[in-house]
């Protein structure tokens, strides 16, 4: 595992902050280790594509980080179709 001290994290640009906020909103920790990983990924991608947008970064986030599962709502029970009878007036 990489061990990068927090003081070494210097990149505070807008997309980076946005992804950090995203991770926090998703319930992911945003401590030194996460920042370092994010820094690493961003650097990696910036090397390939210098003008990386927030959207492109956000789309990659689920691949880089294990975000909590989607909020699952209780599924409805299987249907047993029936019909309703109407009175003949």
């Amino acid at each position: 595992m990489l061990q990068i001290p927090e003081t070494a994290l210097v990149t505070i640009n807008q997309p980076f902050n946005q992804v950090l906020l995203y991770l926090r909103a998703a319930g992911h920790d945003t401590g030194a280790e996460t920042r370092a990983r994010l820094q690493h990924f961003v650097s990696l991608h910036c090397g390939r594509q210098p003008s990386l947008s927030t959207r492109q970064l956000l789309e990659k986030v689920p691949q880089w980080f294990d975000l909590p599962d989607q909020a699952a709502f209780n599924p409805l029970p299987p249907m047993t179709r029936g019909s309703v009878g109407y009175p003949d007036e």
């Binding site: 926090r24 909103a25 992911h28 956000l58 789309e59 975000l67 989607q70 209780n74 029970p77 309703v84």
Partner: protein, 704 residues
């Protein structure tokens, strides 16, 4: 005792007696009234006045004699023909119970209070070891995404809290056909065949475990029973208005319900909630088509329950009202305005029954009479107004205008023996049930639970005074509703305001028309015949003061024991438990439910779940909606459009990504700023953290 259909003979005899009593009393009243009428008014007005008087006198007589029947039934230890008396056994704990669904249709209700009530019901069943045997459905017709998203979240939270072994389901209809009855029909078409019984609750209903189990047991013991209706007690009242309704229901209600049950027996009415329904015959026979008549008599049936009872009866099944089953509660509308709003819906719905009476064949006489009673409950108001108008007219035409009973009789002098007798009889019919109820409480030594006999009498006196003041207000409001319904003027179908609170401006707007009418009428009476002013005053004055009275009634009393009822001191567990409302507030309080749904990665990411594929026009429409919402924010879409996005995962995810890289100054950027502040202030408000192990595996994969 009530095997087979032998109860029908008993019911027939009791109904015959009721008809005889009401007819005799009405004829006597007519004779006394006619003897005091002035001849100078002309034939048409006196004849019309007599007809209207006869109908109204019979109407109040039905209420009085029903209470007398109830008094006698209660004093003789209950009705031996009732289901609960003839089938006394309850199943022992552990004995399997029939497949039953507890359904709660809701529409724009206060979410936390509603879910809190449902939780209390499930908890009570849990304590009896019965919760696992029942399935619970929250059937939402809510259209505002701010409400249904909260409903969904609250229901999910409740399910987590109760444990996964509980079968609690949330279902929201996207197309709200036929209001509540359509919602129930939709449930039955999808899942009805899985259940033998369906316990129907309202959003404000509370049913104890014993009550639910008792209903199921009775259904099992009585295969002919199609519906068993409990008589819900009003509970959890907080405003003065609600406490007045609660006291009246608790103090006098038991007389009326016992009397009604003894007269109707197996041909009772269904009130739409706090009841159990046998699903198969209900599905087979109780579907409600849209009305095909003119004006008011077209479109969906608004008051469905009485018709469903009539259809169940027509199919050969019994409908029982069982006042002896305890543990059934509901709430009163918190304010006078809310009560009248509900009446506006009911009035229209009940008047629609005129069409069904004319067109629906083979309905049993008792159910037809129940429909007529429902219609008269609202028609009585314009009839009373007509009576007052004619009464004033005839009195003015007479030799001397000396009103006998201010607010009621303008034409009958108390100087004559007949006049005095008529006034005394009218007063007895109006106030007799209250006196009987007090006598019943005294004889059964239940006054203590109302705070003692003196407090009980004082409470009844106070309630009667307010009821007298409210009667003309209701009369004018109901008359307007009848007129609006007759001309089929539009009616907004909204959920009830169960939380209370309205301002003075709303009250004045609501009562403006009746107030102006009352002022003009009073001025005309005073100008034409000053002697009749004090006859008109008791009717006109409360209407003129309606906004002030409503405001006073809508507030909470200083003491929780104002108009005390037994549940105030010793609330049953299900009420006490419902008081501790669920607290599924938003994760981020500074965001709306929609903003939270859109911005939360946990809600909006489809992840690995397979999205529903849409194509063609729907896809194009969803794309346009997402674009518009992303650019202009939540307020750019109406409820239906926003609901469409929120209930379609790929569209929600598309909006989610758009919102997360919104431009500075845009609505979503502002929402993101609020989210950032919320997370700064409360770091713990993020969602649950991911597992460390999975995280490391991802990291290794990505890094390599």
């Amino acid at each position: 005792m009530s095997d087979g259909s032998s109860w029908r003979r008993v019911a027939f005899r009791r109904r015959l007696l009721l008809v005889f009593l009401v007819a005799t009393q009405t004829l006597t009243g007519l004779v006394l009234f006619a003897g005091n009428l002035s001849d100078q008014a002309g034939d048409w007005s006196t004849s019309l006045l007599l007809i209207v008087f006869g109908i109204l006198f019979a109407w109040i007589g039905v209420g009085f004699w029903t209470a007398v029947f109830g008094f006698i039934t209660l004093r003789s230890g209950g009705d031996s023909w009732s289901l609960s008396r003839s089938h006394s056994a309850s199943p022992t704990t552990g004995e399997p119970i029939a497949p039953t669904a507890v359904v709660m249709p809701i529409f724009h209700e206060p979410v936390q209070r509603t879910i809190g009530g449902l939780r209390a019901v499930i908890r009570d069943l849990e304590q009896q070891g019965r919760a696992d045997a029942l399935d619970f459905y929250l059937l939402s017709d809510s259209r505002d995404p701010e409400i249904w998203l909260e409903e969904q979240a609250a229901c999910e939270k409740l399910r987590e809290e109760l444990g996964s072994h509980h079968r609690l389901f949330y279902r929201r209809r996207r197309v709200n056909l036929n209001h509540k009855s359509g919602n129930i029909a939709d449930f039955m078409r999808r899942w009805g065949r899985q259940y033998r019984y369906m316990v129907v609750m309202d959003a404000d209903s509370l049913l104890s475990a014993n009550c639910i189990i008792r209903l199921i047991t009775l259904m099992e013991s009585r295969p002919q029973a199609g519906i068993i209706q409990t008589t819900p007690r009003l509970a959890r009242a907080e405003s003065r208005f609600a406490r007045l309704q609660q006291f009246a229901n608790r103090c006098y209600g038991r007389l009326y319900s016992a009397g009604l049950a003894s007269i109707q027996l197996g041909e009772a009415a269904y009130w739409g909630h706090n009841a159990i329904v046998r699903v198969a015959p209900f599905m087979a026979h109780c579907g409600l088509r849209k009305l095909q008549g003119p004006g008011l008599f077209s479109g969906p049936v608004l008051s469905h329950d009485f018709i469903e009872a009539a259809l169940m009866g027509r199919a050969g099944y019994e409908v029982w009202l069982e006042p002896a089953i305890s543990g059934s509660f509901e709430e009163s509308p918190p304010t006078l305005e809310d009560d009248l709003t509900r009446d506006r819906r009911w009035c229209r719905g009940n008047l629609q029954h005129i069409w069904l009476l004319a067109t629906l064949g083979k309905v049993r006489l008792a159910h037809r009479m129940a429909l007529v009673t429902g219609i008269l409950a609202y028609m009585a108001s314009p009839l009373w107004l007509t009576f007052l108008g004619l009464s004033g007219y005839v009195a003015m035409a007479g030799p001397e205008a000396t009103p006998a009973l201010p607010g009621v009789l303008a034409t009958t002098g108390v100087s004559s023996g007949n006049g005095l007798l008529l006034v005394a009889t009218t007063a007895l019919l109006l106030f007799g049930p209250r006196m009987l109820a007090l006598a019943d409480h005294a004889l059964t030594r239940r006054a203590k639970s109302f705070g003692g006999m003196i407090r009980l009498i004082a409470s009844a006196f106070c309630e009667t005074l307010v009821a007298l003041a409210l009667a003309p207000i209701r009369m004018t409001a109901h008359t307007l509703y009848v007129i609006r319904a007759t001309f089929n003027l539009p009616l907004g179908w909204q959920g009830q305001n169960r939380a209370g609170s309205t301002d003075l401006g709303t009250s004045i707007r609501r009562f403006g028309l009746p107030m102006v009418s009352a002022m003009i009428t009073l001025a005309m009476v005073h100008w034409q015949t000053p002697a009749l002013t004090h006859w008109a005053l008791p009717v006109a004055l409360p209407v003129l003061l309606a906004p002030v009275l409503a405001r006073w009634l809508n507030n909470r009393p200083a003491s929780r024991l104002w108009l005390q009822v037994p549940e105030d001191k010793q609330p049953p567990p299900v009420i006490a438990s419902a008081g501790a409302e669920a607290s599924s507030r938003r994760q981020w309080e500074s965001l709306t439910w929609v903003e939270q749904q859109v911005l939360s990665p946990a809600h909006a990411r489809t992840g690995s779940s397979s999205p529903r594929v849409v194509s063609g026009k729907k896809r194009q429409r969803l794309h346009q909606l997402v674009e518009r919402c992303a650019a202009y924010g939540q307020s750019a879409l109406d409820h239906g459009e926003m609901s469409l996005i929120c209930s379609h995962p790929p569209a929600l995810e598309a909006l989610h990504l758009r919102a997360w890289h919104a431009d500075t100054g845009s609505p979503w950027r502002k929402a993101l700023d609020r989210l950032a502040r919320a997370l700064e202030d409360h770091p713990e408000q993020g969602a649950a953290p991911a597992t460390r192990q999975r995280e490391e595996a991802l990291w290794i994969n990505a890094a390599s």
